[in-house]
């Protein structure tokens, strides 16, 4: 038996040591950024000569960073809503519809995940130059939606597959109309899947870099674009401060998602 630790003898300590190193490797950059953002050295000397919040102050007082933050937030919210609506409807067709070419259609919806982002970005860049969409909010929404929709389709298809159709039939027999059944039975039952779709869509937009770099104009720069442009110029600790805030935000989202599924799991 080599799927139980006790049977592995001394070799298990090799595995423990390996796991410890890999975990350290995974955590190192995240912890390091947080410490870096609090260090006082502009030249990123580490360990820093003193601890300070001045990079966060510089960040908060710079209107350009704040504009980018606001843009990224608005964009991610728009993309999340549209992605759940478009992807949710498509997922219904995939999970419930009986028509030819369903597998092909599913592959089609997942294809933006497989195509290298840089190709999507260049193609969309050329397209939006022609359509006058470059540097516009709508252009950003469209670009991010391409990346987000596959996540919504996958999450909602999965939750619809595990949903018992008898529940809908029961609601119909009890006299519920079509909309009422959808609103009070189907949607609450697939809520965790929809929630996951929303969070993944939000993250897909929030963290999208490549399409945004090509879509951006000097006036309209999302947070990742602003980070990218300043990263190419210098390694200012302000980026460490932004990064730390982003790490905290994604940890928060992870906790939310964790709570949604932990609350759900005892029922299953």
């Amino acid at each position: 038996m080599i799927l139980t630790r006790s049977k592995l003898g001394l070799f298990r300590y090799v595995l423990y040591g390996h796991a410890l190193l890999v975990t350290a490797f995974l955590l190192l950059p995240i912890v390091f950024i947080a410490l870096l953002s609090l260090g006082s050295s502009r030249w990123l000397a580490f360990p820093p000569p003193a601890w300070t919040f001045k990079w966060y102050e510089e960040l908060a007082s710079d209107p350009r960073w704040m504009e980018s933050l606001w843009l990224s937030l608005r964009l991610a919210l728009c993309v999340t809503i549209l992605s759940v609506l478009l992807g949710g409807a498509a997922a219904f067709a995939l999970a419930r519809g009986k028509f030819r070419g369903r597998r092909l259609l599913k592959a089609f919806f997942v294809s933006p995940m497989i195509a290298p982002v840089v190709i999507v970005a260049i193609a969309l860049y050329s397209f939006s130059l022609k359509m006058g969409l470059n540097g516009t909010f709508i252009g950003f929404v469209a670009g991010h939606l391409i990346v987000a929709v596959p996540f919504s389709v996958i999450c909602i298809v999965n939750s619809l597959r595990s949903f018992d159709l008898a529940l809908e039939q029961a609601a119909a027999i009890c006299g519920a109309g079509r909309l009422q059944t959808l609103r009070r039975v189907t949607i609450p039952c697939i809520a965790p899947g929809v929630m996951a779709a929303a969070i993944f869509s939000f993250l897909a937009s929030w963290d999208e870099v490549v399409i945004s770099i090509f879509m951006a104009s000097p006036q309209l720069q999302t947070l990742p674009v602003r980070m990218w442009t300043s990263l190419r110029m210098d390694l200012t600790p302000v980026i460490a401060a932004v990064s730390t805030l982003l790490v905290l935000a994604s940890m928060l989202l992870m906790v939310v998602l964790g709570l949604v599924f932990v609350r759900r799991s005892p029922k299953q």
């Binding site: 003898g9 409807a89 009986k98 290298p116 990742p224 980070m227 460490a240 990064s243």
Partner: protein
Amino acid sequence: MTDASAGLTTSRPARLRRIAQPMRTDSGARPAWPAIAFLFVFFVLPVGALMLRSVTDPHWGLQNFSDLLATGTYARVLFNTFLVAATVTLVSLIIGYPLAWLIVMLPQRWQQLLLAILLMSMWTSLLARTYAWLVLLQRTGIINRGLMALGVIDQPLALVNNLTGVVIGMTYIMLPFVILPLRATLSSIDPSLMHAGAICGASSFRLFRSVLLPLSLPGIGAAGLMVFVMSLGYYITPALLGGTANMMLAELIAQTVQSFLNWGLGAAAALILLCATLVLYAVHMRYLDEDAR
């Protein structure tokens, strides 16, 4: 009374049918149309148009491809791309497999802790992680100074602005994509097979080599192929951690289009990248995807 109940029983199936009728379980393909239309206009059409430009820009013909394959610089970019993607895949598998194996054996609580760490690193902003590596791997960064303090090296190593930096940064990003699927594969292996082997007197090493490893090969293949495909088209990390001398394909495409405005050549390189991706993905779907079989 008797009449009424008789009337009720006869009319019941009709009533049920009337109420249940609006709830057709088959929605047809209709709800998918908005998403299809959107992806067609903003994804299929632009990508198709770009691919077309590889043979029409600046004029009809295959001159872009002959430029791309004949010039030494571009050939080296292609070589670099495949070299880096293969190295990253191999290193992530070697590092990831033992950890996935251990995760399967650990008690629930520890499993969850390790998975949470993996997810956290996966969900951290890509630029934030790349920035961290950029600072960590500098000549004066803590990794170089740590190694020098330990006496491992006397001169700082060039860890960044070259392919070493790209491999380190990309391996970091790809590790979760190896460990999570491998964990799924390993946890679905029936432990009684291992029991049987042990009863027949096989040593632990023999069990690993003859039972566990062969059974996890499809998972290794699937995870490895996915990571290889993702690495081939990666743009951000190579652009920041790599040097100007060792470009990768995605960077070449972006630069050709953005800085040199050579759309035809950029599109030709993009077509090569897309074809490589699609072929590898088809192999994945055909031989390694468990859903499809």
